[in-house]
């Protein structure tokens, strides 16, 4: 084996589902010592992923959870230089192979939603994009609204955000929810807002930063078939004030 060809061979032995003893022996030295690296690598990734998906692990139990992790490592090994990104890569793997994983591991119907929610919480906590304060002015109906970068909008088919950490919830029934997760600017804690359909539509439109607040309100109301009457405008005023106070809505884009 050439001096550097060994790197690929070692990587294969670290991540494969069931590498042969010959795969380790081919690396040279003592095969048992190369297996130490395999244990260390797998434990590190397992720890990172279980930290991120604590509630999913409680639902699946350890055996199924770790089998999913080992399959992820074998089929789609990590690509990010940032260890904290790896749970997100695990979620992408789960989403790509949803049907197969749901079947092979007899997962409850809400399992993927739960994983998506848990990762959204972490992604919000980690969010690093910045909005220049100089680029944002007071909120105006004819301006383009700006949301804090430290937020995530997520649509769920099951109310997994109301689950505890004590395992499978046999009473869980499908019920659509739209959530806005955001990071509090002072405490850095992640908070969750359950959104009405019209608020979810408005926040979704605001993310694109392409339309004025007036256009967004009109389009969102149309999308969910709500008439813009006096009651709506009063509720809108309260909503916008609340979003501004929470720091979810920062103001209006300054040209």
């Amino acid at each position: 084996m050439s001096p550097f060809a060994y790197q690929g061979a070692l990587c294969d032995a670290l991540f494969a589902s069931d590498p042969s003893d010959a795969a380790f022996a081919a690396l040279g030295a003592n095969a048992e010592r190369w297996k130490v690296y395999r244990r260390m690598v797998r434990l590190r990734f397992a720890a990172s992923i279980e930290h991120a998906f604590e509630r999913l692990r409680a639902v699946t139990g350890d055996d199924r959870f770790y089998e999913m992790v080992w399959r992820f490592l074998a089929d789609a090994p990590p690509r990010s230089h940032y260890l904290r990104d790896v749970p997100g890569e695990f979620l992408q793997f789960f989403e790509r192979h949803r049907d197969r994983l749901m079947r092979d591991f007899t997962l409850p119907a809400y399992a993927l939603d739960l994983a998506r929610f848990e990762w959204a919480e972490l992604e919000t906590a980690y969010s690093f994009e910045e909005t220049r304060a100089a680029g944002v002015g007071p909120l105006a109906m004819d301006g383009v609204p700006v949301l804090t970068p430290a937020h995530r909008l997520i649509d769920l088919a099951y109310p997994v955000h109301r689950m505890g950490t004590d395992g499978h919830d046999a009473t869980m029934r499908a019920a659509p929810f739209s959530l806005c997760l955001y990071r509090d600017a002072k405490t850095h804690e992640v908070a969750i807002l359950e959104l009405t359909p019209v608020t979810a539509a408005m926040l979704s439109l605001m993310e694109s930063q392409k339309s004025t607040l007036t256009e967004i309100v009109r389009n969102a109301a149309e999308a969910v078939s709500v008439s813009v009457d006096v009651a709506f405008v009063e509720a809108l005023s309260t909503l916008l004030a609340d979003l501004l106070e929470r720091g979810v809505l920062l103001g209006t884009l300054v040209a």
């Binding site: 084996m1 001096p3 550097f4 060994y6 790197q7 690929g8 070692l10 990587c11 670290l14 991540f15 690396l27 040279g28 030295a29 003592n30 010592r33 190369w34 130490v36 690296y37 260390m40 690598v41 590190r44 990734f45 090994p77 990590p78 690509r79 990010s80 230089h81 940032y82 260890l83 904290r84 790896v86 906590a125 980690y126 969010s127 690093f128 994009e129 910045e130 970068p149 430290a150 990071r183 850095h188």
Partner: protein, 273 residues
Amino acid sequence: MQLHGVGLGLRWALAEDIIERPPPELAFIEVAPENYMRRGGLFPASLAACAERWPIVTHGLTMSLGGTDPIPPDYLATLASFAREVSTPWHSDHLCFTVAGGTVTHELLPLPFTRAAVEHVAVRVMRAQDALGIPMAVENISYYAHPGVPEMDEADFAAEVVARAGCGLLLDVNNVFVNAQNHGFDARAMIAKMPLDRVVQIHVAGHDTSDPALILDTHAEAVRSDVYDLLAFTLRKTGSVPVLLERDDNFPPWEELCAEVARLDAIVREVAR
């Protein structure tokens, strides 16, 4: 910026204690940039609080200096920006590979001690140094197996890399101790053979001796007496060099960690007298 004395790694589990109740001897903070780059919220807030009080030095985990995949330009650009922000006097990473075929292993995997590997690593260190715009240092790792037949020992390998690349050496005395135990050589002789004139920083840590046949560099135990002794031996040869206590897991009561910092500081001062 001149670093001196004893530092601690800014781990999340330690951040509050470091900021609220720092050991009086604490002289600098080391951070793994990968844990802070592209990250908002509490982590940068803690780093900013530390940067107000102590010099910061960066120590990377995933540059994969011995790897064959190109070092991603966006990773280097982000790292360069981060290094400027914290005004690190140098950036260090390991004499190992962590990436192969696009897979990032997040593990420090051993390189063969060969001339080809020296050349390969040195060229990548020089390129990284150019991209970062600051000096680099390379750290000797703990290795549990060696691929193929070595053409030189670890000290010669490190010496040739730093000479060829024109970089510094971050000498991890615990790693030398662990390797000496696992591969059956004399730790002091290996230290003495290292390019000690290039040492810019020293690491010390604890290791796991559960299996005497293979001790593991865990950073999850207290520093052993043998490693304190090896540190003193090393410092007598290098002169005053900043010393970093690595503790990444299985955190003890804060007072115990502070006592380790104090003990390290006493060794540094004793040798400096």
